[in-house]
Symmetry: D2
Amino acid sequence: MHVGFIGLGAMGQGMAANLLSAGHTVTVWNRSQAPLDALKSQGAHIAETPAQVASGGVVLSMLADDAAVRAVLLDGGVLDALPTGGVHVNHATISVRLARELSDLHTARDVHYVAAPVFGRPDMAAAGKLHVVCAGDRNSLERVQPLFDAVGQRTWPLGDDPVRASVAKIAGNFMLASAIESMAEASALTRAHGIEAADFLEIMTQTLFAAPAYQGYGKLIAESRYEPAGFPVRLGFKDVGLALEAGDDARVPLPFAGVAREALLEALAGGGGERDWASLATVAARRANLDDRDKN
Amino acid sequence: MHVGFIGLGAMGQGMAANLLSAGHTVTVWNRSQAPLDALKSQGAHIAETPAQVASGGVVLSMLADDAAVRAVLLDGGVLDALPTGGVHVNHATISVRLARELSDLHTARDVHYVAAPVFGRPDMAAAGKLHVVCAGDRNSLERVQPLFDAVGQRTWPLGDDPVRASVAKIAGNFMLASAIESMAEASALTRAHGIEAADFLEIMTQTLFAAPAYQGYGKLIAESRYEPAGFPVRLGFKDVGLALEAGDDARVPLPFAGVAREALLEALAGGGGERDWASLATVAARRANLDDRDKN
Amino acid sequence: MHVGFIGLGAMGQGMAANLLSAGHTVTVWNRSQAPLDALKSQGAHIAETPAQVASGGVVLSMLADDAAVRAVLLDGGVLDALPTGGVHVNHATISVRLARELSDLHTARDVHYVAAPVFGRPDMAAAGKLHVVCAGDRNSLERVQPLFDAVGQRTWPLGDDPVRASVAKIAGNFMLASAIESMAEASALTRAHGIEAADFLEIMTQTLFAAPAYQGYGKLIAESRYEPAGFPVRLGFKDVGLALEAGDDARVPLPFAGVAREALLEALAGGGGERDWASLATVAARRANLDDRDKN
Amino acid sequence: MHVGFIGLGAMGQGMAANLLSAGHTVTVWNRSQAPLDALKSQGAHIAETPAQVASGGVVLSMLADDAAVRAVLLDGGVLDALPTGGVHVNHATISVRLARELSDLHTARDVHYVAAPVFGRPDMAAAGKLHVVCAGDRNSLERVQPLFDAVGQRTWPLGDDPVRASVAKIAGNFMLASAIESMAEASALTRAHGIEAADFLEIMTQTLFAAPAYQGYGKLIAESRYEPAGFPVRLGFKDVGLALEAGDDARVPLPFAGVAREALLEALAGGGGERDWASLATVAARRANLDDRDKN
């Protein structure tokens, strides 16, 4: 298939590379140059402007946040350049409000909108092992399924309203934040009672919580290894904010999200915005003054 | 080995049966009669009083809470009946304060105290597949290891201070409460946006959260099946309270525990004390008034 | 002084009337007609467009929220119509972000911006008894002081940065939300123990909490009188959101605001958006299931 | 009236002195000697044992907490020494559970129990200006009214069940904790936006929150003056715990209490247990990292 791809961050690079490996013809655009060179050597065509990638009728985008989506897709002219009947697959994690707005804008232009946020970190993107949560009209979903097969290990369709896929992704990230905060507090508690975080978390993540989310973040906490960040506090704070905003829109109180938000904000206030959000463990430890105890 | 076993609730029955199957000689005591009959048919000896089970020098207990432990072990004379050099293995989830008190009381009587709380529900107890978290002096741990092998799939030692095993169990149960509350809120959010809880939770529990805790409780939430309870709200409220108390003792703030406690208390106030604690999902749904929306 | 006045809601009507009473010449504009007729009979001039009120060089506005401020002041051309050296006094409670933006926009147009949010309910506005919190350049503050004297009992200056007055107002409204939630929970607790809310709150609001905020809202709670709303849940939710947003901008965690927000959202979800925000008491009572208890 | 008085702490000393000034004959007992000497010089009789003060048939006690009440009144024999028909007035802030237990113990001994916790700090006790919240049988309340008149400016009766007075006191202290936490967060927010805490709190405590609670604690926060403590974090943490326990007993969720508890625990973890509980302001400031910002 001929496709355009916009946004070659840590996730987008791996996805675009896997589309190429699967035999698709891929035209890419990115704000910065370096990733373009790498993709070019793997066979990608390079577009001069974001709008160019849309001309083929199928465009995928993997942008950082609402602002980037607005800047590139709307202001950058991608949506306007998409021919009637074209399809835009949006892999980004965006707010419910923007998801709804995008859905309406696509419909007004007679183009198809598929929301397809993914679960997985950069190494899973590189390995083509992402989980693709998607929603959109049935024909479009069928049309782009081969693209999902190239980047993911499994596709999870959620019906025809694209907003749903965005909500599911937001809710999933909120569950991740909760899992981290839960480990952060529990390991502060056990540490204060003389148990090494590594010992406690090993038990948990080998038994009841033997799942990728807990094992991955549990390991970071056990090793106090928060840099470089797989997913920084700054983005985690944004995403928990998206959950709260989605709760506002649908009038759903989310007390855990409120608490996780506060902890992430405390991490930000302490200057830790670029550390991995597993560093919520340091917030819990500081509230309990654990490091000062160890000194004495 | 000749052992005594006290407390034949849903968990204790399976554990005692597995001790018998493994070839140990087991003398049992229980407050009510029914479980005794079942164990007798499997080869157990029946004691007339709790104190009798202790005479052999090794006694295991699996009692419901602090009050039951005090009533049976202390007031019931089990501890006094244990001969010098004997060992008591306490499988119950008890408070940090009682754990410390028991540890001191055993030492004062020249008997050994092993704390060995278990993770796993009754079906895992019946299958001998529990996870045994244990702490106590090294010789005692070695001595009772064959008993742990009979009831569990794996033993997780945490050193010589028995209090640590109790803290780890309490912290683990707090993580369970957090996982449930997290799913409760996330599924209320997605449901309000038109996604069935079952659909959302299937994605989560097959991917990032593919772990027994999430799959087990996620299934209950997806099916709104809270009776009969595997673990009732009433006990969940008690256990989150134990976490907060353990936090008080060691001065560790636990904001998630505070929120989970409030949600469980709301479930109790609504008359749902005997429903499974997965019914936290109904509290989240009620706060968002979801059932009334569905009616309209 | 010749002044323009925009926004004749429950607060603005009283303020404009008091400006007239103090001998000022007042030209008013309002979206709806009814309040204009009333003010006209009191001697006000009526403008056809918002921009007209600005031509005299001094304009006061009392609009509902950020959206109304943007619609009328920016899109409606008021700011553009203000002559060089003119002064705009903004009495509305607006977000920190909009406050900063307005401050910059005024500076860019060589006009003066005074932020002057007020504390007080409509009856205090009618009586000229408001508390005016203000910030702006010193000359402008002196220039408009006679206007503040006409509408308020006291002026509280906070320096030259207009954003500060907005922050103080937002922080004050957050303290009000906290006071209400505190009474809501405390009266649910005492009620569950057999004490009438009225009896408990009378003690509190005649002693330690003998202040207007507690006495006013305490009375509403004691009498379960939430309609018509002096200040509705809907606006309270917005204002607590402004506090959280101000906290985000300056990286200040506000856990009480998070909890109050959740309670207000629960009130909204239950359909109570237009009731007075003192109805947080019904949320606390419902969580405790108090009404059902009374039935039994 | 001939009365016995037990517990000459900062509050009890002032109360006993006012009883003497009002012409009552007072026999006092206290654990430590110093306050006894002072009272003796004012005309008090000194008892050798706690039980001696009860022989006259009317005994008042002002002890620190549940443990002190148990130690002195129960184990110390005061209750047993009270003659049939005697009355015990308990001014202490105690748990709902102990209140209920005491009520039952008095009834079983045919003596009367009046719960009469007070609102007011030591200076108000010395001035005879306390607020006395009381509950007990009508005859007893009438009998001891002259004593309340000697120590307080006003009496607030709450019916015949003594537990109610204890609940009201606990709920009132929870409202104090909430007021402090609210000022702590609001002043951290305004400070981060460039407003001195003193300036912001002056506005609030002179207007909407012009009440003793806010003015007293607001002043401490504005001046960062937390030592010597009028009421230390340690006791505040205990009292918020009493509110949560009272909520457990009656199944009333108290989310604000949960958050205040966590903040007080964080203050304790930082070593600030003996500072005034107005130092919650330092917890809010630290979460926002405000002191480090000021350094840079």
